[in-house]
Every structure is written in structure tokens, then in C-alpha cells.
Symmetry: D2
Subunit: 287 residues, 4 copies
């Protein structure tokens, strides 16, 4: 078995103009890069060009550490938002969770199984329920109980914790506390939540009860980036499952658990593999 | 090929109590009825018992016309809402439509193909677009243009038309006028609409544009009974289709057409086969 | 919170005749049973009547242990295959597994979470991979390595083990050994397997590779009862997931893992709740 | 409303090598073409590079008719299979059909609605059932009855007809005759069929009966290119629908009709928009 080569991944968006693909791929080609994956998309409504290009770093004439500087002139010229990452530098992902364990046990299992290319330096919870589970998967667990009185203080501590662990992305795996503006702004576009409804239906609390009372025939789950407005952030992934008159709220909760963990895992995987670009309230998710 | 026997179908809901299934099925059994289909459901949240029973009328000792009177004492005792229908008496269904033809062409084709067991005595439209289509399927077409000025008058005429044709159910196959309270009350629980979103998301106008702007990854369609509150009636059927960042509003409209016609056809078929019971804002849809 | 009442569940199939539902429900009614769930189905092709009835044992005038004898005369008269179970007597389920842990970790988690109403007296494996997982969930683990030479002997030991633990059902959660006829016959209609394809497509080994080479756009998983003929037993549950040209065999394997565990869990749950009746090569799965 | 610009679409596959995207996009860029859509994929198993690029012809410095010759040197160098088409030159599509009308009525309606960018110069049928439907949509209808005796002769006539109408693609919309090798070879990779099963399950006749007898819980439909081996051609699109024990063969046929027409329409649309590349037994279908 051969060791897989490391790859560079460029994720870029900018105002559309003629020649972008040609010039970007030429930049890679003339430095000896073999493109292994490329997807581009021009968003008609915003006239914004978006691209994800991955190439083999073997034989590439510029070392990884010098690449951002080499690409910077093109980025400036295109007025682009861009980021280059490398598959051998695994992102650091923290998980925050409350009492329900279905999402976190799924993430930890996938991580161990090699489905999620990241390091998990810590799990933060305001309950002790998943402490043993974290021990089983050998992931550091930090208990940070939150009350009305200490919420501000504890959030400051959590931000500190996440920063000291150099966390790149925070996953809310059914974390039942509403994050403050300060927290959200500390990790812009880097907090991923799972909401247990088909957003924008059933914003807020108790979405399965809301769904039951409205008499819907399908329930859903939505994974999205967290912004300052509750349940309004850009959507990364959604999925649904059928329900019938036989399904009471408790059945929806049970069926929903399967949905939530799969949708969250898909969103997390897409984010970790640098497949997600944010365009205002929408996302581009390259396959 | 043998002629299929006619069947009776009892649809009933009442407060739950011990012995309901036994007593209802005994009523049928002692009169020589062979039950061919039975589904019951007790709704936990309302403690209401619901049942659909179909039985073969061949050899049944009471003629169809005398059956309602014979069952009435049981119905009273159970304080039930109930209705008995017969498969050889086809319901009369009118279709109202505006300019878009995808739903009506699908319904007319299914009707001709034998999928929908009903008579279609007329199609009403405020446009002439589907007139030729109706002629092709030999369904009477009535042009009733509506303007701000004549709306009340024209609605009165439509109600008159529907009544004179002894219509049992009215299907709004993308009829783009909002019906007045008077119209809705003239056909309670007998008007079926198709809304081009996954209700309760995107109530009101331009749901595909709303969906695009919110950046959802799945769009839906919902068929429901029409009540006085717009898009709030009990849901009969829903379905969804995936979209991606590649889908602009026009693509959602195209993909949604396939969805809308299939969801509407399913709801109409369930209603015509007496499979739908209304429980407040929810429905029981027997398979 | 009130303790839920215990229920009896009758699962019955017999040649169709007039009056079956009436007489069965009357049997329950006259002994004071409140039916909480009833589904019946007449299979047109075999003219076989099938029913599942659940009723509350509180206030029922016959004790659980005397019920089978009381029902026996009706069963004989109807020439029925029937079985009565009680929700307070949890079935005993063994799991057999090889190296892949996705199905077993899912089953053990669901079991702990209360989704599967059963006792798991043991896990048998021909590998040690899941031993720690079983310890975490406090389920007895039995290591039974199998080689060409000892296969017959080890199978005999396994049958002995399963019998001594009074196992009601055996779940093959990706157990990679083909069971002998003797083993299958020791637990007729009580061994549930998960096959990682949409049966009957891709019978046998390496179904994902077969799927890849055939270029299908959808892959599936199938849970079925094990019979003497490989991959030919009655199907309980199936589901699918989309793939594209971007998915190599390894991606299908990854996507398939999500599918396999959900399909297996659904089949196991339906079996444990006595919702599955076998009609030759087909099954009736009551909702 | 502005007239949409015409676009060129290059569809190309060749052995993978460094620099392909760069050189192809550079070819377009240096001639003033604005790329509006690009997808590429390297098939790992065959090490074949595939690409679809669309660009605006407005301001392009080479006229459409000279483009193939201009691109030919690159094509040769890359040892590529390639084809350039133009959105203002609509492909010519013939439909062959027998007695069932669900697929053809759907295609003709979509064509009229503008969903399928093609010309339909004729419909060929061995029955007269859809003659009126064709008249309604103003599509020429050719009745070519086929018997055991005249089959060879009639096929020769059909090939002649299709050639004289300069047909680019032939769609078998439930055409119930097996085409001869000669016919298939006359239109290589240009005949699209709909098979009413989830291939490779249930090859051959009566797939719904086969599905019923096997007791599957999901049925499917498959659209594929026709090759000399029955039901073995490269798959373009597949979809599925759930069935239960309540569904007899006739119900599967009814449910399957919705599936067949949607799957066939998707495959036809993808082919017409030059989104499909064949790689041996598999296809690449760009979104």
C-alpha cells in the first residue's frame, strides 16, 4: 500500500470575469501541480465566481509554506476571498454537547473510523452524560456547567479553552445553550450547528412538537453555520424522513435522531474537506 | 376477466372506548359482509379512535341505500363522525386552474388512465391556456375570468356552477386566486390545494424565490385541505426534492413541477378513495 | 410519569374467510381487552389473511400464561399460524459479528438508548475487534475464532451457546462467515442478516465492487431472514442512497455503512415488536 | 427580456496527464471565451480524465463552424474522444413507443413546456394508441406495425426513416420490441431506453412481477444506453419508490409509471444537454 500524496486545496470566491479558471489552473500547471479535482460555479444571482481546486503537492515547485504568498498577487487582482489548505495539516475540531449523545457518539465513531480528517482536542459539555463515552474514544472531556448566573463567565472560559487548543471549528452536537453574540463572533463561520427541523420551518424550541401539531408528513434536520440570529445561518446540509399519523412526538424524536446525526456528519465532513463556501445567506457545497 | 365487486367503505372517528373494532366488525360480519381492508388508529394526543373498513357488498344482506340508516344507531352511540361510501358511486371532482398546466394535465391523464376513480364534470379557469387540453381529454371547460372588480360576482357564479354540477370535491391545480371565506365555507373539507413549498416553510407568494434566498438544500410541495387561513389547512401529502447551489429559482420551479403534480395526485387519490380523516389541524391518511 | 401498561400482541396468518376480524376482536373484547393497535391485510396472491392486534392487559380477564390455551381453539378452527407475545417479556437477542463494527455499535447504542426492547445476553465474534465496545456497553462477549478446519465444531459450539442463553433471535451484524444448513435450521425464521446491496442485485461477495463495475447510480442495503439459500431469504427492510461517478468503491463502502446500520436496525426493531409475518418468500411488515 | 447567448459545449475524455484543465481553458480564454460552466472528473479506476466546459460564444474570436478544426490539434495530442456542440443547434430526437403512453405523454409535454431543448421530427410506434396524442402536440406520427414475419424488413424501414430525418438520438419510451444488433449498431450510444426495474435486478420481462415475487420493499426504474446485450448498457439515471406488502403487481405497475417517466426524462435531458460521457460500462453524468 502506498502512502497517499498530500494535496493542496484552494477555495476561492470573487466577482466573475473572463479567464478566471484559465489563470488559476495555469498558476498551478506552470508550477508542476497535477490537478486531481476541480469544481467551479458562477452564482448567477450575485455574479460571483467560486472554485475549489485540489492538486498533488508531489513535484510542485513551491513548498507549502510559500504557497499563500505566491498566490497572493492573483488573489488581490481578482478581489477574491481565498484560502489554501493542505490535506496533511488536519484541522482541529472541538465538540460542544449537552445531554443527548446521539450526535457526538456518531461523530466520535466516524472520527475513529477515519471518516473525518481532523484532530479532536476536546469535548466541552454542560452535563457529565458523555464523559465516559469520551473516555472510551480517548478524547479529552471538559465539564463546564452553565447556569443563568454564571453563563457570561463560563462562555468566556469556553472561548479561552477553544483558543488555547487552537481550535479551527466548533461543532454543536445538540448543545442546548444559546450562544452569545460574543461567542459567535469569536469563531465567525466556524461554528456548525444541527437543528432538529427542516429549516426555516419550526425555528426555535421543541421543533418536533411544533411539527406534530402542524400535522406535517415529513420531518427534517438542518446543519448550518451559526450566526448572531438564531437558526438563520447559512445551511450546509439538510435531510428528511417520512412520518405518518402513527408517529407521536416521541416517535418523531426517535426517527429524528437518525436524521440529525447523519446530516450533522455530512456537514462536518464537507466543512473539514474545504468543500463549503459561504455566499451571503447561502452556501456553495462542492461535491 | 371478472367484474370487480362493489365495496362499501366506512370512515369513522369518535372518542376512544373499549370494543369499538369488535362492535363495528361484528355489525358487518352479521350482515354477511366480507371485510377486505381494515385500518384503525387511536390518536394518543386527542384520544380519538379512527377507522377505515372496506367490505364486499356481494352477499351483504342490506342494500346500499339502506345501509346508512342501519348503521346510524351505532354512530350515535359512539358519538362518531362517520360516512359510508360505495365504490360504484364515483365522486364528482371539479378542477380549478390558472395558467400553469402541469398539475391539470397530470390529473386528466391519470383520470383517463383509470388511476383516479371519479367523474370530472368540469374544469374552471380564469385563463384560456388549458382549454384545448380539456377538449383533448373531453372534459367540459368553463372560462371564468376574474378581476379585482368582478371577483365577488364571479366567485358566486363559480359556487353556483360547482353546485349545479353536484361536485363532491374541488381540486385547486395551481389556481392562483385566493378564495374568499364564503367559497371555502361552501365546500368545507372538500377543497384540496397544492402549495409549492414544504409547508409551513415559505407560506404565501413566490415560495421558490423564498427558498432560493434562504439557501435551502431541499425544496418541497404540500397538498392540503383549504381552510379560511391561507396555507394553514390540514396536510394530506408532502414530498421533497434535493437542490444545490447550481439551482437558480428557475431550476427550482422546473424541479418543483414534477413534485407538485405527484404530491397533488397522491392527495387527490387518497381523498377519492376515502382514506383521509381530519383530526383538527392534522390528518389520518390510511395506506 | 405513569408506568406503561403491558400489552399482548397477537400475530396471525391463515386462509382468508368471512368474519375473521370480527371473531378475533370479539374474543379480545369479551375478555375485557382494549385494542390499542390493529392492522390486517389480505394477501391477494396467496389468499392469506394476516393480522397484528395489540391490546392492553390491564383489566383483561385471562392471565397472560393462560391466554395461549384460551386462544388455541380459534387458531385451530382458522388453521392459523399464530403467536401471542407480551411486551413485558423482552425477547433475548444475540449478535454475531466479524471485523466491521458499524452495525454492532449502532445496535448496542440503540439498545442502551431504549430503542430496542430486548435483552442482549451475548455477542459472538470470530474477531476480537469489538470486545472493548461490548465491555463499554456491558454486554458479554464470546470470542469464537473460525477456521476451515474447525468450522463445524465451532458452529456446534455456537448453537450450544445460543441455546444455553435461550436466545430468541440471532442478528448477523456483518458476520462474514456463511452459516451451515444445520445452523440455519436450528433457528428457523429467527436469524436476521444485513446484506450490503439492494437485493436481488449483487448477490454474494463484494457487492460494492459489483455495483461500481455495473455503474449503478444508487446503492442499497437489505435486511432479510436467513434461509438455506444465500441472500434469498424473505426481505424485511431495504433502503438506498445515491452515488455518482465521483464515488469509487471505497466511497460506496463508506456511504453504505450509514445505510447498513439503519436498515438493519429497522428490521431488528420490526422483528422485536412482532410486526413481521412471513408469507413464503415475502414478508408482511405492519407499521 | 434579453435573448440568451449561444454557448459552445465541449465534452472530452482522454488518458489523464498534468495540465489538461489549464491547457483546455487557456484555449478558450485566449480566443475570448467566457466559461460559464466547467466540471471535470478523473476516473481513478481507468485513469481517464473527463471534462465538460461551456462558454459564451459572444465575443469568441472563432466562428462556430471553424471551432472543431481549431480544437482538433489539442484533441489529437491528448488522444481524446471529444465533441463540441452549440446550444443554438438543437439535437433531433425521435421517440419509439408501443402501447403504454405514460413516458411519451410526459416527454411531449416537457418538450412543449421548453424543458427539453430538442426538435422531435417523428414518433414511431407499432401501435396506434398514441397517434392522437402526437397530433395534439403536433408531432409527426409514423405507424410501423411489427410481426414475427416482417420484423427485419420493418426495422430496416425504421432505420431508414430515422436517418432520413437526421435523427441524433432515439428514445425508447416503453418500446416493447427487442432491437436487433443491426439497429443498435446504426445508432451507437445514441439509443436511450427506460427499463422498469432497478437494474441489474430483474433483467428481462415482467420485472414488476419478478419484484413482487421476490418480495422487495423498494422498486426502481433505470434509464440506460442500449447496447447489444439486453439491459446491460451504461446506466444514465435511476430512481426508486417504496412498496409494501399492500402493493400487488398492479400497484407496482401504477407506482412504477411515475418513476419511469421521471427517470427517462432526467436521462434524456442530461443527454440532450451533453452532460453524459460513457466510460466502458459506466457513465459520467455532469450535474
Amino acid at each position: 500500500m502506498t502512502v497517499p500524496h498530500h494535496h493542496a486545496v484552494l477555495l476561492l470566491s470573487c466577482p466573475d470575469q473572463v479567464g478566471l479558471v484559465s489563470r488559476i489552473t495555469h498558476f498551478i500547471f506552470e508550477r508542476g501541480g497535477n490537478i486531481t479535482d476541480l469544481e467551479e460555479h458562477v452564482d448567477e444571482s450575485s455574479q460571483r465566481f467560486t472554485i475549489r481546486v485540489a492538486w498533488d503537492m508531489q513535484g510542485f515547485t513551491i513548498p507549502a509554506e510559500a504557497l499563500p504568498e505566491a498566490f497572493a498577487p492573483l488573489g488581490r487582482e481578482f478581489q477574491a476571498d481565498w484560502h489554501i489548505s493542505f490535506t496533511d495539516k488536519r484541522p482541529r475540531m472541538a465538540i460542544m454537547v449537552s445531554g443527548y449523545d446521539h450526535c457526538i457518539q456518531d461523530l466520535l465513531w466516524r472520527h475513529k473510523r477515519g471518516e473525518l480528517n481532523c484532530v479532536i482536542p476536546l469535548v466541552i459539555s454542560n452535563h457529565r452524560d458523555v464523559e465516559k463515552l469520551c473516555a472510551f474514544y480517548e478524547i479529552p472531556f471538559e465539564y463546564v456547567p452553565v447556569s443563568k448566573e454564571n453563563k457570561g463567565e463560563q462562555e468566556a472560559y469556553e472561548i479561552e479553552l477553544l483558543r488555547s487548543h487552537e481550535v479551527d471549528v466548533v461543532v454543536l452536537a445538540r448543545y442546548m445553550q444559546i450562544l452569545s453574540e460574543r461567542f459567535v463572533n469569536a469563531f465567525p463561520n466556524r461554528i456548525i450547528n444541527i437543528h432538529h427541523s427542516f429549516l426555516p420551518a419550526f425555528v426555535g424550541g421543541n421543533p418536533y412538537r411544533q411539527a406534530f401539531e402542524r400535522g406535517v408528513k415529513i420531518i427534517g434536520a438542518t446543519s448550518h453555520y451559526v450566526t448572531e440570529v438564531l437558526d438563520e445561518g447559512p445551511i450546509i446540509a439538510q435531510d428528511i424522513i417520512r412520518v405518518s399519523h402513527r408517529d407521536m412526538v416521541k416517535d418523531m424524536i426517535r426517527k429524528g435522531r437518525d436524521l440529525e446525526r447523519i446530516v450533522l456528519a455530512r456537514a462536518v465532513k464537507a466543512h473539514l474537506e474545504k468543500r463549503v463556501l459561504i455566499l451571503g445567506r447561502r452556501t456553495v457545497v462542492f461535491d
